[in-house]
């Protein structure tokens, strides 16, 4: 079953073309690596999928339904989650509050369990701003888990993170994969990509340059 399909997505900002005619299909349960140089359009692609920006042309389909005509919050409610390059947490809210606000329930037990899984439960009542970079990423993963997102977009989750936390993050990604989640991962380290991803897409100046299967 195709979880995500992009059809001829193009986006330009003024005179600059960020994405040009990008099309691909992603099967449910697979992990797609997204690589390319700086400014090749990777983050823009994620922004288009989550409707942070509107494409100039093309369509986005999630689980067979067209979604590029929906507002961002409705797309998120369909089960698409994201981990950001920067600023992916609510700084002035506690860890527990960060999780609560992501879901419809205020179930403290479940939130604690998930914080425990990502190794942050001892800081549950502290403000998220006090976390290190790696810990913030783990909190974001916790959020993805409590929401039970089906499609998870990861924007360089390992960048600037300590080795110990990188291991932890890989563990969490592994767990999500076992649960059958569909993942898109933006990453630079080729060894890591080979470890984690099933497929690879390379962007070059907004165009889809190469598709590879890894398994």
């Amino acid at each position: 079953m195709i979880a995500l399909e992009l059809k001829s997505i193009s986006k330009h900002f003024g005179g600059v073309t960020a994405l040009e005619n990008v099309s691909f299909k992603l099967e449910q349960g697979k992990t797609l690596g997204l690589i390319g140089g700086n400014g090749s359009g990777k983050t823009t692609l994620l922004n288009v999928i989550t409707k942070m920006i509107s494409p100039n042309s093309g369509e986005v389909h999630f689980k067979g339904k067209r979604v590029d005509n929906l507002p961002a919050y409705k797309i998120a409610r369909l089960g698409i989650g994201r981990i950001f390059q920067i600023g992916g947490i609510f700084n002035n809210m506690t860890l527990l509050e960060n999780l609560f606000v992501a879901t419809n329930s205020g179930n403290e037990e479940e939130a604690e369990r998930i914080l425990n899984e990502v190794g942050l439960v001892q800081k549950k009542n502290e403000k998220a701003a006090t976390l290190s970079g790696g810990q913030q990423r783990l909190l974001e993963f916790g959020r993805v888990m409590i929401r039970n997102d089906e499609l998870i977009l990861l924007d360089e989750p390992f960048a600037g993170v300590s080795e110990g936390n990188c291991k932890k993050i890989e563990e969490v990604i592994g767990k999500l994969q076992k649960e059958g989640k569909t993942i898109i991962l933006i990453e630079h380290d080729s060894k890591r990509i080979k470890r984690i991803c099933n497929q690879l897409i390379e962007l070059d100046e907004g165009k889809l340059a190469k598709k590879t299967n890894i398994d």
């Binding site: 983050t43 600023g87 002035n92 992501a102």
Partner: protein, 291 residues
């Protein structure tokens, strides 16, 4: 004796400013616009209560409740028709829109009610109660009590309700909130409704003490804005703290300064904070968040 009286005067003023400051800080926190028309929402609330209680003869508490409801609706209308269409523009445009709404509301009220001072029918004027070395009237006690009650209600709203939590999230990082399925426009509308309802309540309380006229909202709104900056933008406890800080400093300050300087005190404090501690007493220096 004197000091207690000045402190009480300061607490009364601070309570009035706080009801405006809370709405201002919530709206500023979410939208980064200074809601210049917030004082006029308070003023309209006062006039609504006037119509209900003086023109229609119903008890003032009824007028108070009607004013709060009307204030919420007015706030949502202002958001929907003046701010929302200009959301994507530069923040200066929102500022100008706010000023325009402010002038519009002042003139509409002046057109319907005239410019002269109006009063609620509060019964015969009698000497205030004397206690602990100061004098306070029943109206003034009511102002403090109602304001504190509404502050507690606000705390409840922010901390315990879903909308309150979502409002904090949207204020913290709007795009992130949207990416979590939060309908930020709906949250913004609710925030406007809540903040404007508080402002309307504040307007009625202010009018009980200093009477109504179309310009009555202007100064309190500026003081409330100063309170927001002093307390820390986006922080509700900060807004409350800042309001009492300004109220007390003003009222104690004019014992030592010529009385014409009263408003200047609030402005002076505002400038000092903007220059030396723009994040306010309770604020932290925030990092930029954006996509």
């Amino acid at each position: 004796m004197v000091f207690q009286q000045l402190v009480v005067n300061g607490i009364i003023a601070g309570s009035e400013y706080a009801l405006l400051a809370i709405g201002l800080t919530l709206i500023f926190g979410i939208l980064r616009i200074i809601h210049f028309a917030h004082g006029e929402v308070a003023m309209v609330g006062a006039y609504v209560a006037f119509v209900v209680s003086v023109s229609l003869g119903l008890p003032l508490p009824v007028g108070f409740v009607v004013a709060i409801c009307f204030g919420a609706l007015l706030g949502m209308a202002v958001n929907r028709f003046a701010f929302k269409p200009l959301r994507k523009q530069h923040v200066w445009i929102g500022l100008i829109a706010a000023i325009a709404v402010s002038i519009l509301l002042q003139n509409i009220i002046a057109l319907f009610f005239g410019n002269e001072i109006k009063t609620y029918n509060l019964g015969p004027v009698e000497k205030g109660m004397e206690m602990f070395g100061f004098i306070i009237t029943k109206t003034q006690v009511l102002i403090i009590v109602v304001a504190v009650a509404l502050m507690i209600l606000t705390w409840f709203f922010i901390k315990k309700t879903k909308t309150g939590q979502q409002a904090r999230a949207v204020a913290d990082n709007r795009h992130l909130a949207e990416s979590l399925g939060i309908d930020s426009e709906k949250v913004i509308a609710s925030t406007f409704a809540f903040g404007s309802a508080l402002a309307a309540a504040g307007g009625v309380l202010i009018a009980m003490e200093t009477n109504l006229d179309p310009m009555m909202g202007l100064m309190p709104n500026i003081k409330a804005f100063a309170a927001v900056i002093v307390g820390g933008v986006g922080s509700v406890p900060g807004a409350i703290l800042g309001s009492y800080f300004i109220g007390l400093t003003e009222n104690i300050g004019i014992w030592y300064l010529p009385s014409g300087y009263k408003d200047a005190i609030a402005f002076f404090i505002l400038i000092v904070f903007l220059l030396f501690r723009p994040q306010g007493i309770l604020g932290k220096k925030k990092e930029g968040i954006e996509q």
